[in-house]
Amino acid sequence: MAEKATGAPAARPLSPHLQIYRWPVSMATSIAHRATGVALSAGTVVVAWWLCALAAGPHAYGAFSAAARHPVGQIILFLFVWSLAFHLLNGIRHLAWDIGLGFEVRTANRTGILVIALSLLLAIAAFAVAYCAKGLQL
């Protein structure tokens, strides 16, 4: 970036960015892929906590279970499951692109919408199954 002698950036118009462009499906899924990837990285700590709690004993496992049953814990778990479902499905979409499949705009838009819908459906179904199996108490 060109700067004046004072060091302050020149006040030029900036190129339009996320707030300006409309959101095509592929842009939304691309951003969501990165965001869910970062979220899942944080999720690895939860998996580590779960395994440690299992190994450590009944007291530690009780603390983990209580946190998982808490409404905030349930929301975090739902976001974790949805992130995993989305990143998995959209990752398969990326692998298809890598071998040259599905690049046409119509196809890419359709698979994008499909991935968003399927990931939400999967996450909701996963929680529905879990709740039904445990009689509405996770």
Partner: protein, 124 residues
């Protein structure tokens, strides 16, 4: 007619000096994670509300313990490579970028060590 030196052409690493190594390792991890993630979602669904002894009995089975170890290793490998790209895209200060790239790999190794130790305690 290429302007590359013969050595550069033989090395085949291109302008970033790393070739397709990062790309390829990220893909290997993602292909492995397709079946492993499906397995993980299924076991989390069946175990998250279960009592501790049932969860331990499940993970103590050799097949499940090995699959869990593979899921943890493949996930953290894939995570380190993915977060590396995020850091390289958004962090521009040379010092903070190098520090974050190191912390990124330390994070993956520490979480991995903790997970595998806990898994060994459960399974052995």
């Amino acid at each position: 007619m290429s302007v590359q030196t013969p050595l550069a052409r033989v090395e085949g690493l291109g302008a970033a000096h790393s070739g397709t190594g990062h790309f390829w390792r990220l893909r290997i991890g993602s292909v492995a994670l397709v079946p492993l993630s499906v397995w993980f979602v299924c076991i989390v669904l069946s175990l998250i509300g279960a009592d501790r002894s049932a969860a331990i009995a499940f993970l103590a089975h050799p097949v499940n313990a090995i699959l869990m170890a593979l899921f943890v290793i493949a996930s953290l490998h894939h995570m380190a490579l993915g977060l590396q790209v995020v850091i390289e895209d958004y962090v521009h200060g040379e010092g903070s970028k190098i520090a974050l790239l190191m912390l990124n790999h330390f994070f993956a190794w520490i979480v991995g060590a903790v997970c595998l130790f806990a898994l060994a305690r459960i399974a052995l």
